[in-house]
């Protein structure tokens, strides 16, 4: 009997192997495993065997059934895959989900700068763009008709009182201090305006970010430490900084802050045969912000006692930082809103 069974198995496998399509495979399934199929028949015949033979025969027939089933399933699977393959799609066609839009590079830069300071414990504060001379100038120790105002040419509004468009974000310093008690640390992003003729590097409207920290023991060394964290986070760990003495009416001592040139790494040398770096002009440094210790006169103007509190302030132009970070050639690109520009960021 064993040989007979072996023969059935061999024949079945050979037939399955040579079957070409799904239909002939289905026919073979009926031929062997159907209700009147050959293997089904073998189970029926088992009833005629002696009790001693039955268990062995059962095992053998079951094995044949499993082998044939597996072979058929395998062959059928392959056959239907082959059929599916005839209808294969072009997976190289583009996806149909719409492309997401982009956040404006100025907003991205503002967010990036603010998040550095927020992580240091600063609070984001905003203030009005239409300002008074008091907050834009006098409260910040910028006297009327003084040459220190030259840096702050200003748009004025037609009005019976003197309203102007703030020429820097510093007025928010004075406004915030009048309403709050130290200690605090704030960061103030916003639009500012100066009547400059528009060209590749000047715009009559631009964005600034102002920082102010006031407490009972804030020192110049703290200003240096905080700005170093900022510069390294924004421009990379290898960024070096230098603080140059400068003059701003609302801070004293005042400093302008340079970072090592992000193009030449502070070497000053240019690429491809140019003797000077095109970004820093060979100096190795680029100016990124102005800063200093809050001038005691500013504290007095807002009703603080300069003997009891000290603080530092800093301010930077967002467009300038974005231009440096992304290597943008013309400030006007920010306000043309050409989507071919916007979508690069």
């Amino acid at each position: 009997m064993r040989e007979e069974l072996k023969k059935i198995e061999t024949e079945a496998l050979a037939e399955i192997n040579s079957a070409g399509d799904k239909t002939s495979l289905e026919a073979l399934r009926i031929k062997y495993l159907g209700r009147k199929g050959i293997v089904t028949d073998l189970f029926k015949k088992m009833a005629l065997l002696s009790a001693a033979e039955k268990p062995e025969a059962g095992v053998l027939i079951n094995a044949i059934k499993n082998t044939i089933t597996a072979s058929l399933d395998g062959k059928l699977g392959a056959a239907s895959q082959a059929e599916e393959a005839k209808d294969r799609i072009d997976v190289t066609l583009p996806g149909v989900a719409g492309a997401p839009g982009k956040i404006h590079p100025i907003t991205q830069t503002v967010n990036e700068i603010c998040s550095v300071f927020v992580s240091l414990g600063f609070k984001i504060v905003e203030g009005p763009e239409i300002e008074t001379e008091h907050y834009n100038f006098e409260a910040l120790n910028i006297p009327l008709e003084h040459p220190s105002r030259d840096a702050f040419d200003t748009f004025y509004l037609k009005s019976t009182e003197k309203y102007l468009l703030r020429s820097h974000t510093s007025p928010v310093q004075a406004r915030f201090m009048e309403k709050n008690k130290p200690p605090f640390s704030i960061i103030v992003p916003g639009r500012v305006y100066r009547p400059d003729a528009t060209d590749a590097s000047h715009s009559f409207m631009f964005h600034q970010i102002e920082g102010l920290v006031v407490g009972d023991s804030i020192k110049f060394s703290d200003l240096k430490g905080v700005l170093e964290i900022f510069a390294k986070q924004l421009f990379g760990k290898s960024t070096r900084m230098r603080f140059r003495p400068s003059f701003f009416p609302f801070t004293e001592p005042s400093a302008e802050v340079d970072i090592s040139c992000i193009l030449c790494g502070g070497q000053g040398s240019g690429t491809k045969g140019h003797s000077r770096c095109s970004l820093c002009g060979g100096k190795g440094w680029i100016e990124i912000l102005g800063s200093g210790m809050v001038n005691p006169k500013v504290f007095k103007n807002v009703g603080y006692d300069p003997e009891k509190v000290t603080g530092f302030a800093f301010g930077m132009g967002v467009e300038r930082i974005a231009i440096l970070k992304y290597g943008i050639s013309d400030i006007r690109l920010f306000f043309e809103n050409d989507v071919r520009f916007l979508r690069q960021f």
């Binding site: 008709e145 640390s185 430490g225 964290i229 003495p245 050409d338």
Partner: protein
């Protein structure tokens, strides 16, 4: 200011190469913008002098600073004592405006031989980009750069009436200045005049009528002090800035007048063979500077660095301060007369930090007190808005807050609500934007003209309004604009429409926790009358939405159809709810039923949906429009609408009969109220 390296060497021993000098000056506060190499081994350093340091606006001033930094000795030219001749000047000086001219000196020099300057002098003026005129004029210019004191030489014989009067100009008084321009003066301006006419605009520029020419024999050399603000106003309103006015605006050392005049007179004697006659000095010098006390503890507390008292004293000495008193705790020092900027302790602290070197101050981290709410809700909402809208495919734009007046044409904005700029630079900066429409449409046009025609743009920005009594207000708005096609190869192309825009707004508002937004038809001049809506939350209008009217598109040269929406972010902020709360998931399955209706065309979806909700009660979870059709098989004046209704009961599995009852109640209501019929 330009500084010639070679010329500077006249006043200090320089053992620094120009590049090193640049660095030293920059790091002490005299920022060097550029170095220009010139022939003859010279180079020009372009340095930026801050408004607080007029004492740096001269070669001696810069050399003095270098001497303080390097310790190299300052070499100020020695001017021999001048013995004035006994001859009477025959000229009288009177100052009518003592406040505007605290000191006026005149030196008479006779029998000068006007000629070209020697090459040595010409070369120096050339380094300053100045054209040589003649020896006398060139000497006054040379002395201005050397000493910082602007001086002017008049032709004495052209001064009429034997008198110099320092007075205010007469209203409308005219003078032709030495640059050949006739200038009309205002009565606030200070002039130098003789008995008959104005001969100079004080501190700004001399007049051609008394100019030193080749024919000049005798001169009057003026060295004076003029009020900063007066000179600044005059120069600004005349639209001129001269080396003289620049210095007077910033303040000229009143105590340096005599030395400068002596220096110029000596040079005129030497180079133009003039005879120095008498010197008239009217007015006063400045009172001596006030001594300032520096507390060493304050110095350390401000800088975060302890600087030894010896070093502090050395720095103060090097800057020309005189130490009056000194203890372990404090040093009292008197600034030199030319340091008008040193008045308070903090000024002294800055000087010490500057000379000691900012880079020697350590970097420390302050003890920053964490703020309770670091990111205000306003900022969170803006951030979320950007995330959602960019996710929906829109690009953020930033447009100018200033506009030309014509940008508002047709927008239905009342003139008296618009904030106007008094001093625009161009006709594109006349007003502040009262809404975000012009910025959006201009950006669209820019892109359409560059073949980017399928656009979804948004802007978050302020608008500016003028209220009554000249009070201005600023409000934060959000604008979204779309135009062009939505197209992909799988689904084909179609024009974008109002509902694409509405969907964006709804998605945004829902993501901010605002679900009860109502859109209602409302005519608005910005939009076409066929497609114009107001957006309301809880009865408050928060914005508008619609298809931009043809008239307005035409104003912006846009031929394409644009859908636009402007919402108040301040209002959104009020209704936004970002609090998240969990509600239990339903335990029992919900039942979906579709309802296809024929309704009269003018029935509003919102009315139908509201009626359905009212009738169904709590069992109705959601109603959704899944099909809308008019055309073939639909009678004229009718619409086919198919709604999908979701019913659920949180306490049990709904039975067929429950749903059928509610569903047929709904149908009856819709029939009665709207004449709807089941299809």
């Amino acid at each position: 200011m330009r500084i010639s390296y070679n010329w500077l060497k006249d006043y200090i021993n320089l053992n620094l190469a120009p590049e090193k000098l640049e660095d030293v000056l920059t790091m002490s506060g005299l920022t060097t913008e550029s170095i220009l190499h010139k022939s003859g081994n010279d180079c020009i350093l372009e340095i930026e002098v801050t408004a607080n340091r007029p004492d740096w606006l001269s070669y001696i001033g810069v050399a003095r600073e270098l001497s303080a930094i390097t310790g190299n000795k300052l070499k100020v030219p020695v001017v021999p004592k001048i013995k004035p001749s006994k001859e009477k000047a025959g000229i009288k000086i009177s100052i009518e405006e003592k406040n505007l001219c605290p000191r006026y000196t005149a030196r008479i020099i006779k029998n000068v031989k006007i000629a070209d300057s020697p090459d040595m002098l010409k070369k120096k003026l050339d380094a300053m980009n100045l054209r040589p005129v003649n020896n006398v004029v060139d000497i006054t210019n040379f002395c201005l750069f050397e000493t910082g004191e602007p001086m002017h030489a008049f032709d004495l014989d052209k001064i009429q009436g034997g008198e110099i009067i320092v007075r205010k100009a007469r209203k409308g008084e005219k003078i032709i200045t030495i640059d050949g321009v006739e200038r009309t003066l205002a009565d606030s301006m200070l002039v130098i005049a003789d008995k008959v006419k104005a001969i100079a605009i004080a501190g700004v520029m001399g007049g051609i009528n008394t100019e030193v020419t080749a024919a000049t024999k005798n001169i009057l050399l003026e060295a004076a002090s003029f009020d900063q603000i007066s000179v600044r106003r005059t120069a600004r309103s005349l639209g001129i800035s001269t080396d003289s006015s620049y210095r007077f605006e910033r303040k000229v050392d009143i105590n340096n007048i005599e030395h400068s005049s002596d220096r110029a007179a000596t040079l005129i004697k030497d180079l133009a063979r003039g005879e120095i006659c008498n010197f008239i000095d009217i007015g006063r010098g400045a009172p001596s500077t006030k001594a300032i006390t520096l507390r060493l503890a304050k110095l350390e507390a401000t800088l975060g660095l302890e600087i030894p008292s010896v070093a502090v004293k050395r720095i103060l000495n090097s800057l020309g301060l005189t130490i009056k008193r000194s203890s372990k705790k404090a040093i009292t020092a008197q600034p030199p007369p030319f340091r008008y900027d040193l008045n308070n302790e903090i000024d002294i602290i800055e000087e010490i930090a500057r000379i000691y070197g900012y880079n020697k101050i350590p970097n420390t981290i302050p003890n920053i007190v964490e703020q309770a709410k670091k990111i205000p809700l306003e900022v969170v909402i803006e951030k979320q808005t950007r995330t959602i809208l960019t996710g929906l495919g829109a690009d953020e734009i930033i447009t100018y807050s200033l506009l030309g007046k014509n940008a508002l044409s047709g927008l239905g904005i009342a003139d008296n609500t618009v904030a106007e700029i008094k001093n625009p630079l161009s006709n594109e900066q006349e007003i502040m934007r009262p809404n975000l429409v012009p910025g959006m449409l201009s950006s669209m046009l820019w892109n359409i003209n560059r073949k980017s025609k399928d656009l979804k743009l948004f802007e978050i920005g302020r608008i500016y309004l003028k209220g009554s009594e000249a009070k201005f207000s600023e409000k934060k708005h959000l604008a979204i604009g779309i135009t062009g096609e939505k197209a992909n190869w799988a689904e084909g192309a179609r024009q974008c429409n109002f509902f694409d825009l509405k969907g964006m707004a709804e998605t945004l508002l829902a993501s901010l926790g605002i679900t009860n937004t109502a859109f209602k038809y409302a005519a608005n001049d910005i939009y076409s009358r066929s497609c114009s809506a107001s957006v309301d939350i809880e009865g408050e209008n928060i914005g508008t939405m619609g298809e931009v009217s043809r008239k307005i598109s035409n104003n912006f040269d846009i031929k394409e159809t644009v859908y636009f929406c402007e919402l108040s972010l301040d209002a959104i902020l009020k209704y936004a709810d970002l609090e998240k709360r969990f509600s239990e998931l339903p335990k029992y399955p919900s039942v979906h039923r579709d309802m296809s209706l024929l309704v009269p065309k003018d029935v509003l979806n919102s009315d139908l949906a509201a009626a359905v909700k009212n009738t169904a009660g709590a069992i109705l979870k959601e109603i959704k429009l899944i099909d809308r059709y008019a055309g073939k098989q639909i009678p004229d004046g009718k619409l086919s609408l198919t709604y999908r209704l979701e019913y659920a009961d949180p306490s049990k599995t709904l039975e067929e009969k429950d749903v059928t009852l509610v569903h047929s109640n709904i149908l009856r209501t819709l029939e009665e109220k709207f004449g709807a019929r089941l299809r």
